[in-house]
Subunit: 203 residues, 4 copies
DNA sequence: CATGAATGAGGATTCATTCAT
DNA sequence: GATGAATGAATCCTCATTCAT
C-alpha cells in the first residue's frame, strides 16, 4: 500500500466501491437497458446490498450519469492515441478494417445507443455528451489539421469540420447499421468506407 | 362523407382512433421515451381513456410496434420516390442539402434513437426493424444498380453493398451527430457529405 | 303463435332473451367461474351486445342470482319425480348406480361448487340456496315418511331428518370426491353407497 | 430466544412473515373469497405493505397455493392421529359426535369450498388437491385395512375403497349441508351418520 | 330494440428509496 | 460500513357499467 493510498484509505475504498457498482451497471444496462435494469439487479451484480449503493450514488440517475461519464473518457483516450501516430490520416484509412470489425459487434453498441436515447430525455446526460463530444471534436480537428499540413494538403478550415463530422457520422452510423442489418457484409463496408475516407482524408 | 366512408363507418372509426393513439404516442414517446411514457400520459394526449386504448391495441408493446411499423413505412415511401427520379445518383448528391437539413432537427430524431435502443432489447421490435431494413436495402440497391448502368458506371456487385451501407450509415450517423453536437455546422456537413457521396456514387 | 304469446309479445321476448343470457352464462361460468367470466365473454356467448344484457338484468350479480335460481328449480323437479315412484325407497337404492355415474362427471359439478362458494359471500345467493334447500328437504322428507309407512318401517321423526341429511350429504360430498379423486372407482363407490343406503333407507 | 432462532434469525423472520401473510389471507379469503380478496386487503390484514408481500410470495396465486398446502397438512395430521388409535374403527364411530359438531361451524367450511371451486379452474391448485387427496386416501385405507384384520372382519379390497370414499364423501358433503341448511339438526345428523358408519365400518 | 364505444375505478405487481439494526 | 426489510407511489391492464346513436 503506497502513501497516496494510505493518506486517504476511505476515499480509496469509496473509489473502488464506485467502480464495482459501475462495472455491475455496465453489465446490467447492456442486458436490460437503463430503465429495465433495476437497482436490485445492479446491486446483486455488484455484490453489495441495494441500500448500500446509495452511500456512493445519490440515486439511480447518478449511476447512469457516472456510467456515461466513464464511457466518454474511454472514447477521449482513443483520440489521444490517434494524435500520437506518425501519419494519422493514413492510419485512419489503414485501420478502417479493424475499426469496422469492432463497430460491427452489436453486443458492444447497445450501450452507446442506450446513452443516446437517454440523452434525448435527460438534460444532465445530454450535457455530458455535448461536452465530451466537443472535446473529442477539438482533438480530432487538431489531429486532422496538423496531419494535412504535414502532407501538404489544403487546410480549408470550414471544410475541415465537414470532413470530420462526416467521418464521425460514418462510424456512429455504422453502429446503427450493425443493429439493423445482422448480415452486414464487413468486407463490403470496408470497401465503401475506404472510398469515402480516401476522398475525405487524402484529398 | 364519401361512399367509402359510409360503407365501413366502424372500420373507419377504428382507423381514426388507432391513428389518434399513434399520434399521441409519437408525442409522448418523443418527450418521455418508450418506457417513460405511461399509458395514462398517452391516453390523455390521445383524448381518450386509458382503458379504451386497449380496444385498439393489445398492450403497450403493440403500440410501440405499430408506431415503429408506421415509421418504417414512411421511410420505405422515400425509397419509392427515389426510384422514380430520372437520375437517382445525381438526385442523391443534389439533395444532400435538404436531407442534411432535415436530419439536423434533433426533435425529429429522438424517436428513431428510441426505436434503435428498444430494438436491442425487444426481439419483436428488432424483427420489425430487420425486416424493414432488408426491404429498404433491396429497394436502394436496385435503384443504385440501374442508375449506375444507365450512367455507364461499373456495376461491382460486392462493392455496391458497401456503397449503399456507407451512405445509409452516414445519414443514420448524422442523426446521432445532431444530438451530440447541437452547434453542428450544416454547411460544413453538406460539404463533407458531398465529398464522400461523389466518391461513392459517381465513380 | 298462440294466444298467450300474442297477448304479451314483449314479455315473451324478454323471457327468451333472459334465457339466452342464462344459457350463455351457464357455459361461461362453468368455464371461468362466476368472477372469472366477464360480461364481454357472456355477451359474446349469448350472441348479444354487452350493453344489451343490462336491459334484462340489473347487473352481473343479478345474472348470477337468476342462474342459481334456475338451477335450484331443476333440482326441485327431480324431487317431484321421486315422489311419483311406486316404492321410492327401493328406487333410491336401485338408482344408486346411475346417480353415482352422473355425480362423477366432474364437468357437471363445477357449477354447483361455484354456487356454494359464492353463497358464502353473497347473502342474496345464500338466501336462494337456503330457500331451495328447505323446499327440497320438505319434499324429500314427505317422500321418505310415506314410503316408510307403506313399507311398515318405523317412522322415527327425529331420525328421519338424520337419514335424509345423511343421504343428501353423501351425494353432495360425492361431487367433491369426483373433483378430488379423478381416478374415483365408480363400482366401489356404488358398493359403498349401497351399504350405507340399505342401512339408512331399508331399516 | 433459543439457539435455533438465534442461528437463523432471518429465516426465522421469513417464516414468521409468511405465516403472518397466510393468517391474514385465511381471514380475507374467508370473508371475500380468493378472487374477491385484494392484495391491498390482505396486506392491511397482515400489517405490512402490499409490495412487501412479494418478498415472501411470488404472486397472489402462490399465496393461495401455500394456503391450500397448509390446509392439506392439517388434514393429513388428523389421519396420523387416527392411525395411532387402539381401535380406529370404533374411534371413528365414537367420534361422529365431535366430528359432526366441528363440521357444522359454517365459518370453518367456507374456505374449503373456496378451495374446491378454485381447483376446478386452477390446475396448480387442482394438482395440490389431487396429491393431498391421494396421500390422505392411502393413509385412511391402510388404517381401515389393518383395523378390519384386527377385528376379524372381511378385507374385501375393492369394497374397502367404496367404504372409505363413502365416509369421506359424507364428511365433505356435511360441510355443504351446513352451508345449505343453517338449521341443520346436529343430533339428527349424528344419528344418521351412526347408522351409515355402523354399516360401513363394523360389518 | 340493439349496439359497442367509452369510461374510470380498481387490481396485481414492480421498484427506487429509506432506515433501523 | 453494510444489510435487506419495508414502504408506497406508480404502472399496466381489466372489466362492469353507461349512453349516444
Amino acid at each position: 500500500m503506497n502513501a497516496a493510498e494510505k493518506r486517504h484509505p476511505d476515499q480509496e475504498r469509496t473509489q473502488i466501491r464506485r467502480k464495482q457498482v459501475l462495472d455491475a451497471a455496465a453489465c446490467c444496462f447492456g442486458r436490460s437497458g437503463f430503465h429495465g435494469a433495476s437497482m436490485a439487479e445492479i446491486s446483486k451484480a455488484a455484490g453489495m446490498s441495494a441500500g448500500h449503493i446509495y452511500n456512493y450514488f445519490d440515486n439511480k440517475d447518478a449511476i447512469i450519469a457516472a456510467f456515461v461519464q466513464q464511457n466518454m473518457e474511454r472514447v477521449s483516450a482513443l483520440m489521444v492515441d490517434l494524435a500520437l501516430k506518425d501519419d494519422p490520416l493514413q492510419s485512419l484509412v489503414d485501420q478502417i478494417g479493424e475499426h469496422v470489425r469492432e463497430s460491427m459487434d452489436p453486443h458492444l453498441w447497445v450501450l452507446p445507443l442506450e446513452i443516446f436515447s437517454e440523452s434525448a430525455r435527460n438534460p444532465k446526460i445530454a450535457a455530458l455528451l455535448h461536452d465530451a463530444d466537443r472535446r473529442t471534436r477539438a482533438q480530432f480537428r487538431a489531429v486532422l489539421k496538423s496531419a494535412r499540413i504535414k502532407r501538404g494538403l489544403a487546410v480549408d478550415d470550414g471544410l475541415l469540420d465537414g470532413r470530420l463530422e462526416t467521418i464521425i457520422a460514418m462510424y456512429q452510423g455504422l453502429h446503427v447499421r450493425a443493429l439493423h442489418n445482422p448480415a452486414l457484409d464487413e468486407a463490403a463496408v470496408v470497401a465503401g468506407f475506404r472510398l469515402a475516407f480516401t476522398a475525405l482524408l487524402l484529398h
